[in-house]
Symmetry: none
Amino acid sequence: MKESVPSPRPRGRPRSASVRVAVHAAARRLLREKGYGGVTMEGLARTAGVGKPTLYRWWPTKAALYLELYREGAPGVFQVPDHGRLADDLDQLVRGVAAALSEPLQREAMAGMFAEAQLHPETFPEFQAGLLGMRRQVLLRILARAQARGELPGDLDPLLFGDLLFGPLIYRLLVRHAPLDDDFARRVVEQVLQQSRTRPPWRWVRRAPTP
Amino acid sequence: MKESVPSPRPRGRPRSASVRVAVHAAARRLLREKGYGGVTMEGLARTAGVGKPTLYRWWPTKAALYLELYREGAPGVFQVPDHGRLADDLDQLVRGVAAALSEPLQREAMAGMFAEAQLHPETFPEFQAGLLGMRRQVLLRILARAQARGELPGDLDPLLFGDLLFGPLIYRLLVRHAPLDDDFARRVVEQVLQQSRTRPPWRWVRRAPTP
Amino acid sequence: MKESVPSPRPRGRPRSASVRVAVHAAARRLLREKGYGGVTMEGLARTAGVGKPTLYRWWPTKAALYLELYREGAPGVFQVPDHGRLADDLDQLVRGVAAALSEPLQREAMAGMFAEAQLHPETFPEFQAGLLGMRRQVLLRILARAQARGELPGDLDPLLFGDLLFGPLIYRLLVRHAPLDDDFARRVVEQVLQQSRTRPPWRWVRRAPTP
Amino acid sequence: MKESVPSPRPRGRPRSASVRVAVHAAARRLLREKGYGGVTMEGLARTAGVGKPTLYRWWPTKAALYLELYREGAPGVFQVPDHGRLADDLDQLVRGVAAALSEPLQREAMAGMFAEAQLHPETFPEFQAGLLGMRRQVLLRILARAQARGELPGDLDPLLFGDLLFGPLIYRLLVRHAPLDDDFARRVVEQVLQQSRTRPPWRWVRRAPTP
DNA sequence: CTATAAGCGAGACGGTACGTCCCGTCTTAGA
DNA sequence: TCTAAGACGGGACGTACCGTCTCGCTTATAG
């Protein structure tokens, strides 16, 4: 999507790069030391040596900051794989997510953002759009290609498929009773795929309301 | 654990029953009006017409209060069904959870507790023990009976099984992109059971680390 | 004015006396160190070792705090003297004000309150009522008695009289070009009284609007 | 101190006249809308459409700006009248001040400057020198001429005389309990003059400390 | 006719204080 | 001894201005 207007020519003093760096560093450090819930905008500003208004100018919310941090740390997750085979595509996607979440800081950030989206509804939309939505887009592309290749039935419910795929990961992320590692991710993918192969008598489509 | 001494005969003014009622009512009302994140201990005390120390004495945490409320509202979920058939037992368990979560207040409470457990690590253990742990106990009993009946292989990984079963529900609870209704619960159960029937080449057990 | 209801019987934890003491001490110290304009609610709370909400609970405004302090430090000023002679009464009143204002802290507080009442109109009414108004009441009583004794004409304009009496003091207070001492106060009183003795052709009353 | 070099011939872009105009207009408008205390440098810059550094370059202080505005709006007050008679000279001076202060904007500006000089000691000197000092100079010239003509005793204390003259005006300005109008000014002048005519037993000079 | 320099708008920046909200603890008096 | 009330120290919230800075553009004189 090309911007046809030559760009609005920014006026005034340009944004300082060092602020970004310092705040990111502080965010990482505080996340490590106090956990997501223990991080405050006040503390971020203090640790980063930055004025509070400056902080609020660029990241109106703690969630916005950690969202940026997460996406920066796991860029590959949002690219659409295309190996020509559904199993390989899903494998890359889901194991990629698991790999990102195996980094303790990313884990904490992701869990924190999930939590914050529940407690502060105003942060929900951005979280939804900026993280979950992108992931869903990727999944939809993969599924559409697989359907075009005949690997999946045309009446598959992608929403359900996505929940079966990501639900277990998020559950482990939040419940922490067992490691969220590559092996786990692989087995979840296998399980869901297994399902799609043995189709009958399975019903992928939403059932019509029985009268 | 039975108390053999005739009872220590508590001295002083006995605990007021009306406090419990008033606080529960206030908790429900505030949850409806402001959402879990908007409820404060301060507000609860004010709304219930109860002193703050009294509140803290019985419910040291917002989470403790809503945990009590949740369990009171969905008692059936923690009973172990026994229909003599795995499919029926799981159906009852999972659809029971979905039914409880279809009540908006229970939904909000559960999502809020999940969130709080992430942000305030000190509340995590109680949440884990009092809610997730009990559910897991129920599931384990069901699975053990099914294995005894030969409905499930003996080397099944119950942790993975639980994640596949409850993960999608919790995911929908938190992400809210589609209804968490009875139909959804039924399809998740069917999916996971389907999987266990078409066992090979599936590996249910945790793989040994390949050297 | 007696309160007939037996008093509302205060409930809850009673107000801490130590807070009052600590805040007063901090107020005096900061006034000395930084001047009225340099005192902040933040700094007061910090210096007194008191929470900000506590501070705001009792003194919604810096001005309210220093008003209390001033009145406590100069109680005699608000009592009505009665020597049976106008000159003596005025002498006591005006020289009392000057004496209070000769204490550097009281000076600074009074000047600051005058200033704040100009810049923050919401503090003006309390300043007016709590300080200037009381002084005016005292003056009016003195003048009324003097008129009853025949020392002053009945058509005297007490507002003008008051301005002539206190204006020079306040002017010196704010302009600081010369000491606001007892001698100055005495001479101002003499001057104004001198005037009232040599009445014609002076007009004390407000002139009727000439048509 | 005359500059003997013909003038250093300033280089670079000359000072924009429109800035001065715009800022003055903004100052007047904001003073009317929010009062002196509600005017901020930030708001001035925004309203005038002027950069903050530009504002600070020419008026380092809010007080400096309004001082300029006041002097521009009441030029006559700083000229020395010479009617050959003390009463007429004082009349012109004091009634001129009152006339200037009867304009609501000038009133507000003057009261604000008085206040600011108290709260921000760094602005006091300029206020003192640029406003009060000039007025005192004028008064001193008037008094000196009157003494030369024999209208006043040679040992008169001009400081006291000035306080008696201007004090009541400033008091009314700040306390606002009654109109600061021409009639009031005239009566104050009359009162002070009356005093000087009936000299004995009055003592104008500062009394020697009685041993 | 170009180079230089200051004026200028915009606005980012570190900072301080604002006044409010809630936390969890405490101290009362009354039940 | 429990209760309602509420004061308390503390700390974070998000906002408003402060006064300084860094930009790129404009407008003039000087060379």
